[in-house]
């Protein structure tokens, strides 16, 4: 039982539970907040929780590939944050708002 072994010595189950809780907090933030900047930050939080789990499994298996994949995830997260924020700046210049509820021009 994975949850009963949380009280033994530190193992990969601890990081499974911690990463799941962080991911769900990120999902909750994405669904709740309407400020577009906070939305992008909650996506970064979700990516970080996956990074944490990848490093835990890389330590567990003794394989360095997990940590290198985290490196590439950070690359992609940096590029995505840059382009997302520049799109947001352009949207703010045109609509004077960062509320994602206003960006529904594509709606049928």
């Amino acid at each position: 039982m994975i949850l009963a072994s949380l009280f033994d010595s530190l193992s990969v189950q601890h990081y499974l539970v911690l990463s799941t809780i962080l991911f769900v907090i990120g999902v909750f933030g994405v669904l709740t907040r309407k400020n577009a900047i906070i939305l992008l930050m909650c996506i970064e939080l979700m990516l970080s929780s996956v990074n944490l789990l990848l490093v835990a499994f890389s330590t567990y298996f003794g394989d360095a590939s997990g940590q290198l994949f985290v490196f590439f995830i950070m690359v992609v997260a940096a590029a995505e944050a840059t382009v997302g924020l520049s799109i947001l700046v352009l949207l703010y210049r045109n609509t004077r708002s960062v509320d994602v509820g206003f960006f529904n021009k594509l709606k049928g």
């Binding site: 010595s9 189950q13 601890h14 907090i25 990120g26 567990y60 490196f71 700046v89 509320d99």
Partner: protein, 169 residues
């Protein structure tokens, strides 16, 4: 102080600061709490002896990406009263959706079988810079080069999108 005690303290601080990110009403406070979360995650990396990733996490995530968020936020000059609020039904639906996701993930983990020797040790050697570098520049050299192309495209895209157009007379 045993490694489990350190893990429980760090884990509690990580979850607390992540919750404050989504609960704060002021956007600047959310960004600052997310910086604290990234520092806590770097501490977890140090606990697992992933030294390179701990430093890169602080430099790239907390030092570059979050500073970019802060600059954009200050440029947009948002304040607490202009912060958009979700209606209560939306928040309740988000709580139910997030809670169901947590329940499903925990149920999926319940029957997971991991071998008994799954102790996280803080003395393993994969996280050191030399071992990661050997792996990165031999097996993963192609993704490494392609990621530089990705960065160029992101930089060009950001400059093209955010440039102010010249005012016609």
């Amino acid at each position: 102080m045993s490694i489990e005690t350190i893990f429980w303290i760090l884990g509690a601080l990580t979850i607390a600061s992540a919750l404050m990110v989504i609960i704060s009403s002021h956007p600047v406070r959310s960004i600052l709490y997310l910086i604290v979360t990234f520092f806590m995650i770097s501490a977890h990396y140090v606990l697992m002896n992933a030294q390179f990733l701990a430093i890169v996490n602080i430099i790239v995530y907390a030092g570059a990406i979050m500073v970019l968020f802060l600059f954009v936020l200050m440029m947009l000059n948002l304040s607490k009263d202009k912060e958009p609020k979700s209606p209560l039904k939306m928040t309740a639906a988000a709580v139910i959706a997030g809670g169901s996701l947590l329940v499903v993930l925990v149920a999926a983990m319940r029957d997971a079988v991991l071998s008994p020797s799954n102790i996280i040790s803080s003395t393993n050697q994969q996280g050191l810079v030399e071992n990661l570098g050997k792996e990165l520049f031999t097996t993963y050299v192609l993704p490494f080069e392609i990621s530089s192309v990705l960065f160029i495209s992101a930089i060009v895209g950001a400059v093209v999108l955010a440039k102010r157009e010249k005012q016609l007379l």
